[in-house]
Subunit: 367 residues, 2 copies
């Protein structure tokens, strides 16, 4: 790591690790012969987008229209809003359609009809399919409902139906490569079955498929045309603990100054709280909440996690780090610790910028 | 509520409710004859600070030096950083001391000595006392440790000792007026006892005391010189459920567009996720997580919460609202719901701005 001054919490970005993560997923997409549409909601940064651009990536996914606008302003032309389209943003949709190939997720007939009435240019749509997550979309088993909506959408002249969007967010409720692979296997059977049922009526369509845990874990995935993972660009403690990445694949860490220590209870206080890390947590094996793992800064960026150390609680700007053995004595106020975030998407969004290991500040979209 | 267009999530601010909250706490401080030092970390906005300024408030608390700088730039001169001072920000401390009466919390001898060596102007300090919360500070029962640090600090010529800072954050682990009053009573005994022990050696000092739950609940608090509550300006679902405010005292709500509905499972999907509400939750009586209550927009702002409705899960930009009875049928995509945040400080920080009920956008500090 270069020599530069850290005065307050910054999100350190190891670009080398990030680049390796990007290339690994890019190569996977190539070897599977599917389109690679990285989800930019995790990093939200044109600088980081450049790493994809240099590989030849042209299509991206985003999680809001404002984020689509940010990337469109930076020259991205093929943007999928991987979110059920929000009717109230019709003006921004119409604006974006003037310059970009925007597509959206759709799952509701009345929304489709209202959209159709208000669109000034044709909008590409993917029907959102729920493959078990239970968040958005029509149930994959409910072919009649899907075919019914599809028939109706195909009559709406301002909508151009592209295919189906599937996100297996339930993979986040799974853990271990074996279980995730099993989930992916079940999902694949469902998708192949679904494709068969639909293909008899509609021979040409695309399936765009998301989620970092499955796409990081499996070696093969038949029946899809496009992948759109997001989190893999940084990974985080949650992915590491799920077994979908190695610790050494995690590309971001919060540099947090130590402001106080209470060794009689094995704790140090860091300047780094809920407005930096978010209140996302995982559970330790003893059932206690863990808001982040703790590493030391070093020449390469940050070390392996300190044994037994974790962020045990967060206030707005405070974090309390639990330590074991004699570690507390070795840490002083004025030191800087590296906190491995539980959920890097939320941490990046909160920080609003990155600092790479040479000390360069990297901007991101901020709404 | 005035007629204005809501296209995407905004944090609605009912200024009338906020003003009443501010005046109630201001009057409490007056009747107790203690200094009122509102904690501006909750709202982080000079526009809202104006409501305090117009009441004659001159002293404020903040949770970061960057926030201190923002308010100093807007003319605030008496600013307490209610946070253990971060040695790495010495340059900003020295800068702020040129124009403001800045004070900080201190709890560590080595920090005191290093600060003293680097300060260019005298800095006012409050020793941080832990009255049971276990986050920061020296234990209130440990008078010898406190007196020892105090004697050392009084020898450091760049530090000007003001008194003690106490924050009873453990009140957040309590619930119900009765329990909070009991906690406050115990705390008061500790503080009176502490004051007696210290006064024999140091007759003149101030105790500055924080936290919204206790200060909202109790009618009397002896033994303190200053109050510095923060959250009371907006309150939120957590305070309401703790019994420290009424629902009608909550001054902010997230306006969130409905993007999809799944009435077969009694759910609607809103554009409003973890990057708007934060992942702070409370537990429903059945043990399920609750990320926000759900109201309808109306002429006065928003309604009482819809019976049985709550935000059951959050993704980055999605929220899933659980509904009961036939409510789902009455809600359509394109409607806007008002979500009562669990923790208004975190929600405000995430949104980065407010919209009042006339549709005026109100800026806040963003770092």
């Amino acid at each position: 790591m270069g020599k530069f001054v850290i005065e307050r919490p910054v999100l350190l970005l190891n670009e080398q690790i990030m680049q390796a993560n990007i290339e690994r997923m890019f190569n996977k997409a190539s070897s599977w012969r599917v389109n690679f549409r990285p989800h930019f909601k995790t990093h939200q940064s044109e600088y980081i987008a450049g790493f994809f651009r240099r590989l030849g990536v042209e299509s991206i996914a985003v999680s809001s229209l404002k984020m689509a606008e940010y990337f469109a302003d930076h020259g991205w032309k093929n943007i999928l809003l991987a979110f059920p389209v929000n009717l109230l943003e019709i003006n921004l949709i119409n604006k974006l359609l003037k310059t970009t190939n925007l597509s959206v997720f759709l799952e509701d007939q009345s929304v489709a009809e209202q959209l159709n009435a208000k669109l000034k240019n044709k909008l590409s749509v993917y029907l959102k399919i729920d493959a078990g997550y239970g968040r958005t979309g029509m149930k994959i088993e409910n072919t009649p409902q899907i075919l019914d909506l599809l028939a109706k959408i195909n009559k709406l002249r301002m909508l151009h139906w592209m295919g189906f969007g599937i996100h297996a967010g339930n993979s986040y409720h799974t853990s271990g490569k074996e279980n995730i692979s099993k989930l992916a296997g079940d999902l694949q059977l469902k998708m192949v079955d679904f494709r068969k049922k639909i293909e008899s009526v509609y021979p040409n369509f695309e399936i765009t498929f998301g989620d970092t845990p499955i796409l990081s874990t499996i070696e093969n995935l038949a029946g899809i045309d496009e992948i759109r993972p997001g989190n893999f660009v940084f990974y985080d403690a949650m992915q590491w603990k799920m077994g979908t990445c190695n610790f050494s694949d995690i590309a971001v860490a919060l540099a947090a100054p130590v402001v106080s220590k209470h060794c009689y209870r094995n704790e140090v206080v860091i300047y780094g709280g809920a407005i930096h890390l978010s209140k996302e947590f995982i559970l330790n094996t003893d059932g206690s909440k863990n808001y982040g793992y703790v590493s030391k800064l070093n020449a390469q960026g940050w070390s392996s996690p300190i044994d037994g150390a974790y962020v045990k609680s967060l206030s707005q700007e405070h974090g309390i780090v639990h330590l074991e053995n004699d570690t507390c004595k070795l840490i002083q106020p004025g030191d800087v610790l590296a906190i491995i975030p539980i959920h890097s998407c939320l941490t990046a969004n909160l920080l609003g910028r990155y600092t790479n290991l040479q000390g360069l500040e990297i901007n991101m979209f901020r709404y």
